[in-house]
Structure formats: structure tokens, C-alpha cells
Symmetry: C2
Subunit: 201 residues, 2 copies
Amino acid sequence: MILATLDLLRTAGLTGAALNDIVAASGAPKGSLYHFFPGGKDQLVTAALGEAERVVGDGFRAVFSRTGPLSQKVNELFGAAASRLAASGFTRGCPVGAVTLDLEGGSERLQAVCRDIFRAWCGIIESGLDGVPLTKRGRVAQLILATLEGGLILSRARADKAPLLETGALLAETLDLAYGTNQRTKVTRASSVRPRPKGPR
Amino acid sequence: MILATLDLLRTAGLTGAALNDIVAASGAPKGSLYHFFPGGKDQLVTAALGEAERVVGDGFRAVFSRTGPLSQKVNELFGAAASRLAASGFTRGCPVGAVTLDLEGGSERLQAVCRDIFRAWCGIIESGLDGVPLTKRGRVAQLILATLEGGLILSRARADKAPLLETGALLAETLDLAYGTNQRTKVTRASSVRPRPKGPR
């Protein structure tokens, strides 16, 4: 039932994930919905978004916990998102973004859920930003996440991986040019510390 | 009726903009909906998105048709978006982004509408990117638009202007560092185009 909810959120957003459709898609009897989720749709959506946080967060961690050039990580992140979106026929994007844009007044609890998930994802990205000045890492992570969410929108509207791949590549290149993060951090450090011998000894 | 639709799309997305709510919000009799929009909801949503394209596009044009440093334009764009979002109590974002994330299978026509609006907005931004290498302008415009759409999501989830303002400022700064666009274009062009006199004649 949680996975059916998640799938509908990714496809059609918060209002599009109607309880009747969720029950039908899950194949479970309607009574079990209220048995397991006495809090109704809000509780079910919260559980589905929690599942998304875990799965997507694991993907972010796999990319950003490795050592390597920042541009490579950013390109990998956007490449993976583009492949997932294409595999769904460009019909399934980020459920947290989709829910956020459907929040009407009175959904403060779901809004807080979305806010906390975005914060957690930012934290995962931030921890893998070696080479970026420490004081900038939080905001660079936020920029990467914002661009990814927006890239998912543009790619879905065009039914084409290109916007995600192009924004990812350009963001990677721009961050490299801005912060000189295009070299492997270790190598850069070693070569800049070691003094060059001048002529033969 | 078009404006009522637009308002509901911005608040609650495509599925959230139910025909009954649109009729109620517009104050018009239900019969007039089918009289003026025989194509039903798709036609009404298309008209509302067309209105958004025009209004938002005018805002983009006001920012990007001026001469001035790129970073100033980017900061203005994100600042204006943050102010509008805050003025709505963080409940009304970009209707085109919201519709795109709610598109279920079978909405190819609305998808094409969203795609074309994003393309038009990219064109407006692109035409104001003096200082950015010509071959990169299209992709820089796409990056700016993607980051804006994603920033709107993060700001709405946090009910805070900060994500929009911070991603805008960092994107502006990063583009400046990458392309050296932090100088007034006019000055840069004049000095690079005019041949320097080499010594006295």
C-alpha cells in the first residue's frame, strides 16, 4: 500500500494520489487502509515519502560518499535521475517535489515532512563536497538539489533526458571553474604542497 | 474563470484544480464553463497556463532585457520569485512546474503546452546573457530556469525565502566566477573590441 501510494505520488502528485486509486493499485481490501493507517491519507503519504527519503537518500549517498572529482559526482547524480525518469516513460519524478507543489493551506504537517526530507538529502550531498570551501558546502548542496528538482521538471515536460543531463553537466562544469574542483583533491593538494626542483642539483 | 484556474493550479497542481472548485472560485455559472471551454478542463488549463506564460515571461523580459551584470539579473530574478512566493504565504508557486509534476499518462497535449512555455522562457533568459560565451547561452538559460523551478520547491517546503535567495545568489556568483561576467558587459566589450594603439603614430 505504501509502494502503491509512492508510485501514484510520483506520477500525479498529492491530489492525484486518491485513496480509492491507492487501494485499487495495492490490491488490499479498503478496510486494511484504515486499520494500518488510522491517520488516513496524510499518514499514508508520510509513510510513502519516508520510503522515498530512504531509497533516494541511499542513491545520493552512493554517489557522494565516494572520493573523486565533484564534477563526476554531479554528473553521476543527474545521469542516474535521468535514467530513472526515462525508464518510467517520463511519467515518474521526485515524489517530494510533486507533493510540495500540491500542498494547499492546512497541510502544515506534510509540508514539514517534505522540508525535513530535503534537509536530509542536502546533508548527504554536503558531506561529499570535498574541494568546495567549507563555508560554502551547505549552499552548494542546496544548489545541486534545487537544480536536480528543476531539471526533473524540465526533462519531464520535454519527455527527454537532455535537460537533466545538460543542466547537470553545466552545473558540474561551472562549479569546477568556480572552485577549481575539477582535479582530484588528493593530487591537487600533493602537487601544490611539494616544491618543484629548479634545474639539476 | 481563467484566473481562478491559474490560482488553483499554482496552489494545488493539476489534479488539485478540480472543475467544481474552479467554477465556485470564479463565481460564474457552470454552464458558461462548457460554453466558453467546450474542450473542458484541458482547454481551460491550457488557457490558464498561457496567461501564466505571458505574465511570468514579461517579468523575465523586464529583468533580462536590461543591460547589466549577469549576477545582478540572476539575483533580481530569484528575488522577485521569492517575494511573490512569500506574498502568497508560500502557497502559490509556478503553475507550469506544478502541472508538469501532475501529468499522468494520456496528457500529451498538456505536456506539450508545458514544454513550449519552458522553451519560450528559456529563450527570453537566453537573450539577456551577454558576457556568457554564445555557444553556452542556451544551456546557461536552461540551468537558470531549472534552478529557479527547484528553488521554488525548496522555498515552498521550508515556507522561507532563503532557499530561493541563496540558490540564486550562489548561482549568480558561480556563473560570475566561471565566465567572468561580473563586470559590466559594455565596458568589457568596448575594451576587448577596440584595438589598442601601439605606441605613438
